[in-house]
C-alpha cells in the first residue's frame, strides 16, 4: 500500500510538472491573442471574442481554422508556428467564454442560386461588407473607430474567412443575425430561407473569383531603398533636409545613429539620421492601423564608408505586409514614392 501511495504521488508529481511546463490556453492566449482581442476577449484591434452572440454563432473549428490561416491582408495573422495542441488550448480558452451550447456545423455545401444571391448581396450586404465583400475599414482601438461599435464587418471575400466558415455557419449567421452588432437576422428583414441559401452560394462563389483587394498585399522588391550621393556627408545631410521640405514634410531633427548611447564627442559622425514628418499623414496612418507608430517618424539615414556616401531608408512597402494590413498598401506606395523622390533629389 505504501509503495502504491508513493507511486501515485510520483505520478501526480510528474503530471503536475508536465502541466506546469506546457503553457496553458490562458497563457498562450495572453501571449498570442490578448494584445488585439483583449485579455477577457472584449476586443480592441481585433474582434471581441467574448461577445455572446459571436460565441453562439461560431464553432470550435472556425476558431481553429482562423488561427491557422488568419485573414490575409486584414490584420489577423496566421499562426503557423503554433502546434496543434497549442491551437487546441487557445480554442478551449476562448470557448470558456461561451455560456450556451457548443455549435458544430456541417461541412456540406449549400445549394443556391449565386446570381440571385448577388442581387440580394447588393441590396442587403454591401453597406457593411463592401461591394465585393472586402469588409469594413479600420482595425479598432481609439484611433480608428468609435468604441461603441463592438465588431467590424468582416471581409467575406477573403481566403482565410472562406476556409474557416462553412456554408452552414454563414447561413446560421444570416438567419439569426448577431446580437450586439449591426448584423441583423435576415429572416426578420423579410428574406426566405431560399433567399438566404442564394446569398450563401454567392458568398461561397468568392472562392472562384480573383483575390479580393482587401486580401492583396503590395510586394517590396527590396527592404531598403539606397541611393549613392555625389556629395560629402554634411552636404548630403543638408540636401536631405531641404528635400524633405519640398515634399510636404517638415524636417524634425538630425542625430547620429549612436545618439544617446555614448557621449556626443564619441558618437560616430559618419552615421546620421534625418527625421521628418507630415502630421496629417501620420494621423491618417494611425487611423488605418494604430500600430504603425513603430516606423514613425519618417527617416532617412546617411552614412559614409570608405569615402562613399550613401542615403537610405526602410522601404515602406515592407510595412503593409509586416502589419498584414492591405489598407496600408496605398499609403505605403505613396510613402515609397516620397522617400525615393527625396533621396533622388538630395543626391542629384
Amino acid at each position: 500500500m505504501l509503495l502504491r501511495s508513493i507511486a501515485l504521488l510520483l505520478l501526480a508529481g510528474l503530471g503536475a510538472a508536465a502541466h506546469a511546463a506546457a503553457p496553458g490556453g490562458a497563457q498562450l492566449y495572453a501571449r498570442n491573442c490578448a494584445s488585439c482581442h483583449g485579455v477577457k476577449g472584449d476586443g480592441g484591434i481585433g474582434v471581441p471574442l467574448a461577445l455572446p452572440s459571436f460565441q453562439a454563432g461560431i464553432s470550435d473549428d472556425y476558431l481553429r481554422q482562423t488561427i491557422r490561416h488568419g485573414r490575409p491582408g486584414r490584420v489577423m495573422p496566421a499562426f503557423p508556428s503554433l502546434g496543434a495542441e497549442e491551437v487546441e488550448a487557445i480554442v478551449r480558452h476562448v470557448r470558456s467564454w461561451n455560456k450556451g451550447p457548443a455549435v458544430a456545423y456541417s461541412p456540406a455545401s449549400i445549394v443556391g442560386d449565386p446570381v440571385h444571391g448577388k442581387q440580394l448581396f447588393g441590396k442587403y450586404c454591401v453597406a457593411c461588407h463592401g461591394a465585393n465583400g472586402e469588409g469594413a475599414k479600420g482595425t479598432g482601438v481609439t484611433f480608428s473607430r468609435p468604441r461603441d461599435l463592438p465588431i467590424m464587418a468582416p471581409a467575406l471575400h477573403n481566403p482565410g474567412f472562406l476556409a474557416a466558415a462553412p456554408d452552414a455557419m454563414i447561413k446560421a449567421t444570416l438567419m439569426n443575425g448577431r446580437e450586439g452588432t449591426p448584423m441583423q437576422s435576415y429572416l426578420k428583414l423579410g428574406l426566405k430561407e431560399k433567399d438566404i441559401d442564394d446569398l450563401v452560394s454567392y458568398v461561397r462563389s468568392f472562392e472562384t473569383q480573383p483575390l479580393g483587394s482587401s486580401a492583396a498585399m503590395v510586394e517590396a522588391e527590396t527592404p531598403v531603398i539606397i541611393r549613392e550621393s555625389p556629395y560629402d556627408l554634411n552636404t548630403t545631410v543638408e540636401r536631405v533636409k531641404t528635400a524633405v521640405t519640398t515634399h510636404n514634410f517638415f524636417y524634425g531633427r538630425v542625430q547620429t545613429l549612436e545618439y544617446g548611447m555614448t557621449p556626443p564627442a564619441s558618437e560616430n559622425p559618419k552615421q546620421v539620421i534625418v527625421y521628418f514628418c507630415n502630421i496629417s499623414l501620420l494621423n491618417q496612418a494611425l487611423a488605418i492601423d494604430p500600430r504603425v507608430g513603430m516606423f514613425l517618424p519618417c527617416r532617412v539615414s546617411i552614412f559614409e564608408k570608405n569615402g562613399k556616401v550613401q542615403v537610405m531608408s526602410v522601404n515602406p512597402k515592407v510595412l503593409s505586409r509586416l502589419f498584414n494590413n492591405s489598407e496600408l498598401n496605398q499609403l505605403c506606395e505613396q510613402l515609397e514614392q516620397s522617400y525615393t523622390a527625396i533621396m533622388e533629389e538630395a543626391t542629384l
Partner: protein, 149 residues
C-alpha cells in the same frame, strides 16, 4: 467533390500559402495604464543592458496640430558595441536601428508593438547575423513578457 469545388478549394489554399507576416510583429498588452506600463517598459529595457536613447512623443505632436490622440510613445534603445559591430559589417542595417518599441494607451490598459527581429533577419540571411537577431528576439520577447505581467 465536383471539379469546380476542388478547383475553388485549391485556389483558396494557394492564396493561403502566401506568407502573411504571421509573426511579423511582437505585441503585448499590459493591464497597467500607460504611465505605469511605460515605467515598467523602460525598466525592462534597461535591465537587459540596453540604453534608452530617446522617447518619441507621438501624441503631443498630433495634439499640436489639433488631432486627437491617446498617449503614444516610441521608445528607442540600443547597445553601443552591438550597433558599432553590426553596422560596420552591414551598414544597410542602419535603416532599422536603433531598436524601438511602440507603446500606446488602450483605455485603462496599454499595448506595446515591436517589429519581429526575424523579419529583418529574413531580408539579410547572413549566418553571421543570426546570433544577433536571435538575441534581439529573445530580449524583446523577455521585455514584452515583463511588461505583460
Amino acid at each position: 467533390m465536383t471539379l469546380r469545388k476542388w478547383m475553388a478549394s485549391m485556389l483558396v489554399l494557394a492564396c493561403l500559402s502566401a506568407p502573411v507576416a504571421a509573426d511579423g510583429l511582437l505585441m503585448a498588452r499590459s493591464d497597467n495604464s500607460f504611465p505605469e506600463a511605460m515605467t515598467v517598459l523602460q525598466s525592462a529595457i534597461s535591465a537587459r543592458g540596453y540604453i534608452i536613447t530617446r522617447l518619441q512623443q507621438v501624441n503631443e505632436n498630433l495634439e499640436r496640430r489639433d488631432y486627437k490622440s491617446d498617449m503614444y510613445r516610441v521608445v528607442y534603445f540600443g547597445k553601443l558595441d552591438e550597433v558599432r559591430q553590426v553596422t560596420a559589417a552591414h551598414p544597410e542595417l542602419i535603416a532599422f536601428l536603433p531598436l524601438s518599441i511602440t507603446i500606446f494607451a488602450e483605455g485603462d490598459e496599454s499595448i506595446m508593438v515591436a517589429s519581429h527581429p526575424q523579419t529583418i533577419s529574413g531580408f539579410y540571411p547572413d549566418a553571421a547575423l543570426k546570433p544577433l537577431f536571435d538575441r534581439w528576439e529573445k530580449d524583446i520577447e523577455a521585455i514584452m513578457d515583463e511588461v505583460r505581467e
